[in-house]
């Protein structure tokens, strides 16, 4: 990717998103880091890093937001929530929130961003028109105690392929990454020590992945992956889920 390409990363304040900011910055990307809350984040605005405070539950506002951002070459749909609730304990508000953040917002972002990508690409034609990387989870393929989390992550796999089919012929790559356990706030919050130890038994290295490891996969998809790679879901599980 050329030096002045711009990447929009959602959920960028912490965890995987935070590591993605570093990885893409290392490749020379200018970055728009989106999060609803930068409290406690060590991200500092600079000439090549803009912080954008936005709550993705406001799906209706996304098109206007994207229009205000100018050029975006790479979109990383990383923001996601998990509630850790049994299905009977789910409130309507919790359900609507997870559906909005995990499913509706990334779809709306792809719709909005792909429009400007195609507009720009009309001039060049050759090569990649733009790249979208969606963060899903192995939860997409298995039973998950947080039903809506699993459902939304499976939905991400589906729309990754739908958008790849729709936008691929016009030069846009839409791929996804399905991580197993990664050392983040989300894992620490929902996998208590006993559950965590059990999870680690299934991982070949017996440890959780790190955000920088996952960010390297995002970077590769954003910068280097061949254009023929489209609609793919890359499993980053270290053996905890093989399919």
């Amino acid at each position: 990717m050329p030096g002045n390409s711009v990447a929009l990363v959602t959920g960028a304040a912490r965890g995987i998103g935070r590591a993605v900011v570093d990885a893409l910055a290392g490749d020379g990307f200018h970055i728009v880091a989106l999060d609803r809350d930068f409290e406690g984040s060590d991200l500092v605005e600079s000439g090549s890093l803009a912080l954008l405070k936005y709550d993705l539950t406001d799906v209706a506002g996304i098109a206007a937001l994207v229009a205000s951002l100018g050029r975006i070459d790479v979109l990383v749909n990383n923001a996601g929530v998990q509630n850790g609730l049994a299905i009977d304990d789910y409130t309507e508000a919790a359900r609507e929130r997870i559906l909005a953040v995990n499913l509706k917002a990334p779809v709306e972002l792809i719709r909005s961003v792909s429009r400007q990508m195609l507009e720009r690409h009309r001039v060049h034609r050759a090569g990649s028109a733009g790249r979208v990387i969606n963060l899903t989870s192995v939860a997409a393929f298995m039973a998950h105690t947080d039903l809506w989390y699993g459902v939304t992550k499976a939905g991400i796999v589906s729309f990754t392929r739908s958008f790849a089919a729709q936008l691929g012929p016009q030069g846009i790559q839409v791929n996804a990454i399905a991580p197993g356990p990664i050392d983040t706030d989300m894992l620490n919050k929902f996998a208590q020590p006993e559950r965590r130890a059990q999870l680690m038994q299934a991982v070949w290295s017996r440890r959780a992945g790190t955000p920088p490891e996952l960010a390297e996969v995002v970077r590769w998809l954003a910068s280097e992956a061949p254009v023929i790679l489209n609609g793919a879901v890359i499993d980053v599980t270290d053996g905890c889920f093989l399919r």
């Binding site: 298995m142 299934a202 093989l242 399919r243």
Partner: protein
């Protein structure tokens, strides 16, 4: 009376599959190299004492068996030796029994099935096909067999022949007893029901695919693993 050829019918899943087909009114050609635990005394059963490592003999054998409506490739073998110390003889045996013999049997049965524009083949795979396995060649041959299932379905489907597979999770058979305890515990943690599969349950799935499943279902693998391996 329709006839099923079932390999590895001497024990475990194969024996229960033979029982299930008999119960459904079929006659059964029960093939194995060892009938010491075979206790199905039924007029509908014909024993075929045959060692499937003898690949060259498979085609002549099938020629003597007459009409086969359904072929169940169930026979399989497993050792669980260290990756770097698998004896050549064991590798050859696993490849022969788990992969080359089922393919030779499909090849031998295909002409008569194509001629009749009917016939069903059910291959017994394993979740090991998706997960890898402590017995490297076991996993590799099961994955290969599921792949061959699709190739044969593509080849024979136009002639009305169905080639499907089941992929059982760990099932209570003599083979299960060979598994290390850690593997058994892992299974118990992951299955929805908290118990291993019974050979009777796998047999029911095989019977359905081998006799009654809809004809549009072809080249597919039916997971019988109760959550031990969703994919």
């Amino acid at each position: 009376m329709p006839r099923a050829l079932i390999t590895g019918a001497g024990r475990g899943i194969g024996k229960e599959t033979a029982r299930a087909f008999l119960g459904a009114g079929w006659s059964v050609l029960a093939l194995d190299k060892d009938f010491s635990s075979f206790d199905l005394e039924d007029a509908g059963v014909q024993r075929i004492d045959y060692d499937l490592t003898n690949l060259a003999g498979i085609s002549p054998l099938v020629a003597t068996l007459g009409e086969i409506d359904t072929l169940v490739n169930n026979a399989g073998t497993l050792y669980c030796e260290p990756y770097d110390a698998i004896p050549e003889a064991h590798k050859r045996e696993i490849l022969a029994v788990n992969l080359e013999a089922p393919i030779a049997l499909m090849l031998a049965a295909a002409p008569q099935m194509r001629k009749r524009k009917a016939g069903r083949i059910v291959n017994v795979g394993s979740v090991a096909a998706f997960t890898g396995h402590p017995d490297l060649w076991y996993g590799a041959t099961k994955a290969a067999l599921l792949n061959a299932t699709k190739s044969y379905a593509a080849w024979l489907g136009r002639d009305g022949v169905l080639v499907n597979a089941v992929a059982p999770g760990p099932t209570l058979t003599p083979m299960y007893e060979q598994l290390p305890d850690s593997r058994k515990e892992g299974v118990m943690r992951s299955v929805y029901s908290g118990r291993p599969c019974t050979p009777q349950e796998v047999a029911q799935a095989i019977l359905w695919l081998g006799s009654a499943s809809p004809e549009y279902m072809n080249g597919m693998t039916l997971d019988v693993n109760n959550g031990s391996y969703p994919r």
